[in-house]
């Protein structure tokens, strides 16, 4: 990075540190923070959408839709995250490839399942094995967002389902008495008011989501914890220009500061949002 970095052995103190902290490996580490932040900011609204749909269908009047919503909420909430991330993602990936296989290679005769192997035709591979590495990474990232959204969507659905029931029944009845249809009462009376009840639960979920990002590595996305472990580990001078002992403590301390700062900022923002939502509402004691 800097010109004087060509021979790290002659450096000491701050100069050494400035070279050490700008190696390609460290740059990867810094990028992984961006990855995690981008993941969070895409996943949160997606999970919210999943949650809203889940909550809406769980209280639908059509029985099969209601069953579907309730099954989604209880099944996904009941499966451990790590199991979900290990099995569901592989199944999802294979599902996509199977669909592409049916579409692109109708003439393929070999079986897709051969013993332990899952083999689709080369054109159906997702991403294609010839695509550059970044395509693979984007695809892995997309799978991660989808999986996080499904898992956290189930929790969000449960929170919103409860929030919808917390809106006083009298308000709904009044709306109906004014002649509003079921749909109108839902969108005009229920939804605007339920956020206040949902926010504490959703805020909680957001905090958990922030801390769940190290699960990314299970999906092959190199996250901040992976790099911290990799960079902090003891390195023998044979394999690096910057040999050092076990520095994992310092790297994990840096992560600690990052996570604490991030959750603190989130807390402040959620509190502000909460105040805004309660402004002018006639209900006392909600959303505390």
């Amino acid at each position: 990075m800097f010109e004087y970095c060509t021979d790290p052995e002659t450096l000491d103190g701050l100069r050494w540190l400035s070279c050490y902290l700008t190696t390609g490996k460290h740059i990867n580490f810094y990028w992984s923070f961006v990855t995690v932040l981008v993941l969070l900011f895409i996943t949160a609204p997606t999970a919210l959408a999943f949650g809203f749909l889940g909550a809406m269908s769980a209280r639908a009047q059509v029985a099969p839709v209601r069953w579907l919503g309730q099954a989604y909420i209880s099944v996904v909430r009941g499966v451990p995250d790590i199991a979900f991330f290990l099995f569901f993602v592989i199944a999802l990936d294979q599902g996509f490839e199977w669909m592409r296989h049916q579409a692109f290679c109708p003439d393929w005769t070999d079986p897709i399942r051969q013993g332990n192997d899952f083999l689709v035709c080369p054109d159906a591979k997702l991403p294609l094995s010839s695509s550059p590495q970044w395509v693979h990474e984007v695809y892995g990232f997309f799978l991660a967002v989808l999986t996080f959204a499904i898992v956290f969507g189930a929790f969000a659905a449960n929170v919103m389902f409860g929030a919808m029931r917390a809106v006083p029944r009298a308000q709904m009845e009044t709306a109906e008495a004014y002649g509003m249809t079921h749909r109108q009462t839902f969108w005009r009376v229920l939804v605007p008011q339920m956020w206040m009840y949902a926010l504490p639960g959703l805020g909680n979920l957001w905090m958990i989501l922030i801390k769940a990002t190290p699960l990314l590595f299970l999906l092959g996305v190199e996250d901040i914890v992976y790099w911290a472990r990799e960079l902090g580990g003891t390195i023998n001078p044979r394999f690096t220009d910057y040999p050092h002992g076990d520095w994992r403590l310092w790297y994990f301390l840096a992560l600690l500061v990052f996570y604490l700062a991030f959750t603190r900022v989130s807390e402040i923002l959620i509190e502000r949002l909460n105040k805004r939502l309660r402004h002018g509402q006639a209900i006392v004691g909600a959303g505390a």
Partner: protein, 236 residues
């Protein structure tokens, strides 16, 4: 959404043309000198150099991918990459799930590293990496086994006193003994049947290609040179 579908379709089309022979090489990137991430953030080590040479001889384009050790076989089988080249010893158990090329290093003993020379291995607490031949061996011999996900953690456990000794490939332990008072015990264990590349059982062609490439490197002595250069094993 439409745009997304269009661009996926475009991607699929262009990729179909450039289909050539890209082979994705899966490795762990945490097991120096076999494979590790260098200062520039790229895969490096004995297997990087070996893999690149093999691909050159087999006229394949190779792409390097890192994957956690724990899920390295499932991800090969489900097609996320095409080979495993990660210091993986050939064992009957693994051979049931995947296929191996011929070994590119001879069977070598595994060694113990501990904080003092007088650790009695029998009845001690031994650290080993999860799903390795060493972990299986320790479990078998009746010592107390503590497993860790990465090689680095197995060594850290010995330093912190959580385990009395760590059992791993001698070449890996060579890189850590001598620091922080770690020493290598005299006792060695003869386990494993050499290290080979893992490929899917249905990929017979790829296996044959790499078998031939490894053979050609064995024949002209370049494999032995690489082994000596990186000090990973004894030579053929």
């Amino acid at each position: 959404m439409k745009k997304l579908i269009l661009s996926t379709a475009a991607l699929a089309l262009t990729a179909g043309v450039a289909m050539a022979d890209t082979v994705r090489m899966g490795t762990e990137g945490a097991y120096a000198p076999w494979n590790f991430i260098n200062d520039a953030g790229e895969v490096d080590g004995f297997e990087r150099e070996l893999g690149d040479e093999l691909c050159k001889r087999a006229e394949l384009t190779c792409e390097w991918v890192t994957n956690e050790w724990d899920s390295i076989i499932p991800n090969l089988v489900s097609g996320n990459y095409d080979t495993i080249i990660a210091g993986m010893s050939i064992t009957d158990e693994r051979d049931e799930v995947i296929d191996f090329t011929q070994p590119y290093t001879p069977p070598d003993p595994s060694a113990y590293a501990a904080m003092s020379m007088d650790v009695n291995v029998e009845g001690a607490v031994i650290a080993a990496q999860t799903s390795t031949i060493q972990a299986a061996f320790v479990a078998e011999m009746g010592a107390t086994l503590v497993e860790f996900a990465t090689p680095e953690e197995t060594v850290a456990a010995v330093r912190s006193g959580e385990a009395d000794a760590v059992l791993a490939d001698k070449s890996f332990l060579d890189t850590v003994v001598g620091t922080d008072g770690l020493v290598m015990l005299e006792r060695m264990e003869q386990i494993g049947g050499g290290v080979g590349m893992g490929v899917r059982e249905s990929d017979g062609d790829l296996k044959a290609t790499f078998d031939a490439a490894i053979q050609s490197m064995k024949d002209d002595g370049s494999l032995n040179e690489l082994i000596t250069k990186w000090e990973v094993a004894s030579t053929f």
